[in-house]
């Protein structure tokens, strides 16, 4: 068996590591645009950022179908998720509870994921957008619940038209997907309530 075929370990201390990671996620989504870090040291499988991998270990299980880009689904990341979370990996973006996308890739569009329905807006997909960096890019101004006044974020490596898609997603409120931008061990939440005031 080659090293590539081995499934990397998950949490070494699941109870406390998932608790710490969850609090970072809770802070990220309740205070959109603040940079949160997962402090857990895990070796993520190829194709997943530490933050993405930690978040999925914390939240995904047999109740939550996960959508991954095809290359990841058929690679070590897919095997890793199946083994540690027991999560079903689905082909159809709209049937996923959690999804991981590459921020620079053109597809799938955010509108391809499940926005929930008017009686159950909580059934929408949470999308982890892996991007090149969470700081140092073009500034975007956010407002909405969780933000006193406005807050500026500057992630890098997002496809052209990304902010327009986020705006369209926000217009569906109370429906819509919730986004978590991930890079390295950093996370930046963009729930559907967040309004894009100004994007450059």
């Amino acid at each position: 068996m080659s090293v590539q075929d081995m499934i990397a370990p998950g949490f070494s201390d699941p109870v406390f590591q998932s608790q710490a990671a969850f609090r970072a996620l809770l802070a990220a989504l309740s205070e959109p645009g603040t940079l949160q870090r997962v402090t857990v040291a895990i070796a993520p499988p190829e194709g997943l950022a530490t933050a993405t991998a930690t978040a999925l270990l914390t939240l995904a299980d047999y109740e939550t179908p996960v959508w991954l880009p095809e290359a990841l689904r058929n690679g070590p990341a897919g095997a890793w998720l199946r083994f540690h979370c027991g999560a079903a990996l689905v082909d159809e973006p709209a049937s996923a509870a959690f999804a991981v996308i590459d921020g620079a890739a053109g597809t799938p569009a955010l509108s391809a994921f499940n926005p929930g329905n008017d009686q159950f807006p909580d059934r929408s997909t949470t999308v982890f957008v892996q991007c090149a960096a969470l700081e140092g890019g073009a500034e975007t101004t956010l407002s909405g619940p969780g933000i006193p006044g406005t807050r500026k974020v500057a992630p890098q490596g997002l496809r052209a038209g990304f902010w327009a898609e986020v705006r369209e997603n926000g217009a569906l409120y109370p429906l819509g997907v919730d986004l978590v931008l991930c890079h390295g061990d950093g996370m930046l939440g963009l729930p559907r309530t967040t309004r894009i005031e100004e994007a450059r």
Binding site: V15, F16, T64, Q119, D122, P148, P174, P191
Partner: protein
């Protein structure tokens, strides 16, 4: 005949950290994240049996169990007081199952689980309020069918609630709801703030703390992220008003806190005291004296303590 074998001496009942198993915590955590993303919307969740009866704060306990960690300091209040039965037993529960650090000081706590009050001391960014909610559905008294109230929320059809408030005004001249006063969250969902007095409603608006609501019996979780608009429903010509009292707290002299009326004899004697016990104690320690505060040391009932 069944013979019950006594467990061996070294067998101790063991629980997972914070009582709940990890799959339950994951399920509650997912519900919490969606609740934060749609402020005021009630997310259904699989409420578990807890080692106390439903209606005693099982929703709040499950939320606290899903978020608490070794870095947290927990404060539990019941009707504002740290030393009432429900507060004491919930605090003990987390001391035993989660080895939690507990405190009565509002300022030191990172998680404040509460029944029926918001502390008087202003909340800070980074703190999490956990409310125990008996009836999460603000429309339930008006429409008993869940299928219907769900549609009313889906389509923001809140006319019935306004009619109910109007009928109060028509009949009594004012809105008579004094606790669990309905609020509009982020301009979209009508939410039950749990049975806090309407005195506390303004504290929810744009609060720097994260507020989480758990209803165990009704199996609902909802949330208010920090800095979220929370408007108490009212009318232009009948604006929302909070309670006021004609006299200050009998023990600490506070005129700005929520007061409980205490009957002290059978001849109509009564006194008003702060419902927030920690706030009242802090003020007395600062030297504030109310008119009814008996000086126990002077009358020789207790030994004077040197500060």
């Amino acid at each position: 005949m069944t013979i019950h074998k006594a467990p061996a001496e070294d067998t101790k009942p063991a629980y997972n950290y914070a009582y709940l198993d990890e799959q339950t915590k994951r399920m509650i955590r997912r519900a919490l994240l969606k609740a934060v993303a749609v402020p005021g919307y009630q997310v259904p969740f699989g409420s578990r049996e807890m080692p106390l009866a439903r209606g005693w704060g099982t929703g709040g306990i499950q939320v606290t169990a899903a978020i608490i960690g070794p870095a947290d300091t927990l404060k539990v209040i019941d009707q504002g007081a740290d030393d009432t039965t429900n507060a004491v037993s919930i605090r003990k529960f987390f001391e035993r199952t989660a080895d939690a650090r507990t405190s009565e000081v509002t300022d030191e706590a990172t998680i404040i689980q509460t029944r029926h009050r918001i502390p008087e001391a202003p909340l800070k960014s980074g703190q999490i309020m956990v409310y125990q909610v008996p009836t999460p559905e603000p429309l339930r008294r008006l429409e008993p069918r869940e299928a219907e109230t769900r549609k009313m929320h889906a389509w923001a059809e809140y006319g019935l609630m306004q009619v109910k408030l109007y009928e109060d005004i028509a009949r009594y001249g004012e809105i008579t709801k004094t606790y669990d006063y309905p609020v509009m969250v982020n301009g979209r969902y009508v939410m039950a703030p749990s049975p806090i007095p309407k005195f506390d409603n303004p504290k929810m608006h744009m609060s720097p703390a994260l507020q989480l609501f758990g209803a165990g019996r009704e199996k609902r979780i909802y949330a208010l992220p920090p800095y979220t608009s929370v408007r108490s429903l009212d009318f232009e010509d009948h604006p929302f008003r909070i309670q006021s009292w004609t006299e200050p707290c009998g023990l600490c002299g506070a005129a700005d806190s929520y007061l409980d009326e205490v009957v002290i004899d059978d001849r109509g004697g009564r006194m008003f005291v702060c419902s927030d016990s920690h706030y009242c104690e802090t003020r007395r320690a600062e030297g504030h004296r109310g008119t009814m505060l008996g000086d126990a040391a002077l009358s020789g009932l207790v030994e004077e303590t040197t500060p």
